[in-house]
Structure formats: C-alpha cells, structure tokens
C-alpha cells in the first residue's frame, strides 16, 4: 500500500513561458503583511466609495447573490514565483462597479487588517478583475485572503489584496502599502515592473 503525499507533484517546467525573472511553483506560498484577520461573515461587507464620497455597500449575503464568474488564471508574485492555471470563483468588478457613477482614475483597495494597494480603475474593468471567495472549488482559506480577496492576475500578486473590505475611488493614483516602500506603482509582471526607479 503506497503512502500518498497529498499535494506533492512532479515539476513540469518545459515549454512554459513565464514573465521575466519568474519561476514556476505548484505550491501556494503565503505572504502577509500582518496577522491573518478572522472576519465573521455576519460582519463582513464590501464597500465602494466614490471620489465624491458616495458609498455602495454589499453584505455577504448580498455579495453572494450577485452573478459569479470562474476565472482560471496564471498568477505572478513579485518574490519570483508564478503559479499557472489557478481557478477561482467570484464577482467581476464590472458587476460591482456597474452602477457606480464615477470619473475616478484610480482605486485604493482597503482590507481588514489595514493593508492597502493601488490599482488604476481601468485595470479593474473589462473582465480583468474580480472579488473572489472560492479557490480551487473550496471556500477561500483565511491565510489566502478569505472570506474574499481582490484578484487582478495581470498585475503582480501583491495587487490582489487579501481580506478586501472595499475600494476607495480616487482622482489620482497614490501609493499603497508596498508601493510606498519602493515597489512599483503599477506592477506589470511581463514588463518586470517590480520596483520604482528612485
């Protein structure tokens, strides 16, 4: 009787094109800027605040009632690992931003625990970003950002903020938590935009 090591796989690296400076992982490393917040679903909410101060808020039940999508995407961490074909379920930001009146340029993602990260609003629209609550068919685990996280897979993964609580829409882009320590304001992995020029 063979003992199976759950989660162990052979590494396949041939014929895969990764962004510059990245290597493949089949694991899902955890990187957090603080302790894992445990947010009860009764208290959870997601709020979009416009540059004019208007708020649109969803409770957990209201959020779950929205139409969902199941993106299967590659993710790229600035610490140099990439993970291919990750599967998620959640709500497209096209849905959440759909009836929000705004002419903002940028958004600051805010999170339970205090983390922030900035993303241009155009990068959150057009089927490129989601608020996800399910990973690999199971509820998103707290260490990976559950109950819900932002997913913006075309940017480095620090932009996909864990434990998201809302988006603040802004007239001008401003640096978030890691950006203010020298990480790139935009973070395109294919252009290897890891750091800001000093």
């Amino acid at each position: 009787m063979a003992v199976i090591s759950r989660g162990f796989h052979r590494r396949h690296e041939a014929d895969i094109v990764l962004p510059p400076g990245q290597h493949l992982t089949t694991d899902f490393p955890v990187l957090s800027a603080g302790p894992t917040p445990h947010v009860s679903l009764e208290r959870w909410s997601f709020t979009i605040t416009t540059e004019a101060g208007e708020e649109r808020r969803w409770t957990w039940d209201e959020f779950l009632a929205l139409p969902t999508e199941e993106p299967a995407v590659d993710i790229h961490c600035v610490t140099s690992w990439s993970k291919l074909g990750t599967t998620w379920r959640g709500v497209s930001l096209d849905v959440l931003l759909g009836d929000v009146g705004t002419s903002a340029e940028a958004a600051m993602a805010h999170c339970y625990g205090g983390y922030t990260t900035n993303v241009p609003l155009v990068d959150l629209r057009g089927g490129k970003a989601w608020i996800v609550h399910t990973y690999d068919g199971k509820p998103l685990r707290p260490e990976h950002g559950g109950p819900a996280r932002l997913l913006v897979p075309h940017l480095y993964f620090w932009k996909s903020a864990k434990w998201i609580s809302g988006l603040q829409l802004l007239d001008h882009d401003a640096p978030g938590f890691w950006e203010s320590l020298g990480y790139h304001l935009y973070g395109d992995p294919w252009k290897e935009q890891r750091y800001r020029a000093q």
């Binding site: 199976i4 090591s5 759950r6 796989h9 899902f28 990187l31 800027a33 603080g34 302790p35 320590l181």
Partner: protein, 247 residues
C-alpha cells in the same frame, strides 16, 4: 539497512524565511544517533515518486523524528516540505541511515566518547532556540536571555502559525541602516503606548519586506524594504525609541 516507515507530519516550526522544521510520528521507529539521516520518499497521486536524504535535526524522541529543511527555490521536494506540506500529511522514511560520523550522547567517558558537542553558527536567535529545544543549555548570555524571553512572551507563536518571524529577524537588515542594534531598543507603540524591545515584535512581510507589529495592538511599528533600487525604512508607528547604553 532499515525499512520504509509511513510518517505523519505532527508539528511544524518556521526557523527562517526559507527553512522550517518538520516533526513526524513514525510508528515503529527504532531510534537514532546524532549524525544519522533518513531517506524520504514522496509519492504523488499519479504515482510519481521522488526520494531525497535529509539529516535528522533533533535527538531521538520515542517514535518521532525531526528534519530541518532549507528551501531550494526551483527544487522539487524542498518547496513541498517547506511551503506545502500540512499537519496530517504523510510521506515515507527509510532509516536511520549512516554510521560513519555519529556522536553518542552522554558525558565524556573515553577518547571514543568525548562528551557533548555544541555547534554554534551565525544568527544566535536560531541557535538559542535550538539549544533550548534540545535541552543542552539555557542561554546564559545577555542576547540569549533576550531571545528566549522574546519567544516565551510572544502570544502568537504557535506551531501552526508560520506567517511571521520574531523581531530578531530585523537585526541584520536594520544593521545596514543603523550603527546600533535596534532590536535591543525599546519601542513605544504610537497606537496603544505598549512598550517592548523590538526583538519581541512579530515581523511579517518577508521576503517582500519586513513589517514589525505591536504585540499589544497589531499596529505597524516599522516597515523596511531592501530593494535593488534602494532601502526604505518607515517608522511612524513608533512614538519613541530607547536605546540601552552599551555596557
């Protein structure tokens, strides 16, 4: 040569950003001597098998063994052991293997039995932890006492929480910025007024940066990033910093 034993992961401890100790229950384990190692066999669900050798990093303790594994980033087995494997997961071990360089425990008895050996490497935080765990010394030096106290006082240091390091991780990086060892300094949290040596603060964010937080209120005390483009230190969460005079 021994035989293959199923082994179940029962405890984890993060040692550095890229190394952790894994403790396994191995029913039927015959025991081992310091210096011996094991072969590890991992079988994927599709039947693929990988086999590696790892040193045993703790004395024999009944039917449990410990291995301390350093991550090799593009490796196949070490990323699984360091980042993926969870409590309750299984692998197989063969051993104990190796008898060429072993060190029998116990007091000096003869030239063949020269007594205990203590290995000391750079980075005393880990050394003190290891020494305490192995029950070979209490950390009598001042830094040792500080490290021991930092670990005992840290309410969040549990085996299944590997998301942060202790404040001693700041010593090397901040040494590049300050002449004094800031980890020995007492910081006053700007949020709640809690006072504590920096070495006792939980440190998150590695390897992107270092984020030291208050043990009292979780607020960010300081943030530091060492990037190819430059170093940035932000300390707005520390209301005051007291550096002890050098003895």
């Amino acid at each position: 040569m021994g035989s293959w034993y199923p082994a179940t992961l029962v405890a984890l401890r993060q040692e550095t950003w890229t190394a952790r100790t894994l403790r396994f229950d191995v029913p039927g384990w015959p025991g081992h001597l310091p210096g011996q190692h094991v072969d590890v066999r991992l079988t994927a669900e599709d039947g693929y098998v990988a086999r590696r050798s790892y040193s045993l990093s703790a004395p024999a303790d009944g039917e449990t063994i410990s291995m301390t594994v350093q991550l090799v980033e593009d490796g196949e087995v070490s990323p699984y052991l360091v980042e993926e494997m969870e409590l309750g997961d299984q692998l197989e071990v063969l051993g104990p293997v190796g008898g060429w360089f072993v060190w029998p425990p116990g007091p000096a008895a003869s030239p063949d039995r020269p007594g205990p050996v203590l290995l000391i490497g750079g980075g005393w935080s880990h050394a003190v932890r290891g020494a305490r765990d192995a029950d070979v010394g209490g950390g009598r030096s001042r830094p040792g006492e500080r490290a021991g106290r930092a670990f005992r006082s840290n309410r969040r240091m549990t085996v299944d929480d590997n998301t942060y390091l202790d404040g001693n991780a700041l010593a090397g990086p901040l040494g590049a910025v300050f002449a004094a060892d800031l980890t020995a300094a007492t910081g006053v949290c700007a949020g709640c007024g809690h006072e504590e040596v920096l070495a006792a603060a939980p440190v998150y964010g590695a390897p992107m940066g270092l984020v030291a937080r208050c043990n009292g209120c979780d607020m960010v005390l300081l943030r530091y990033a060492d990037l190819p483009t430059g170093q940035t230190l932000e300390m707005s969460g520390i209301a005051a910093l007291h550096l002890p005079s050098r003895a």
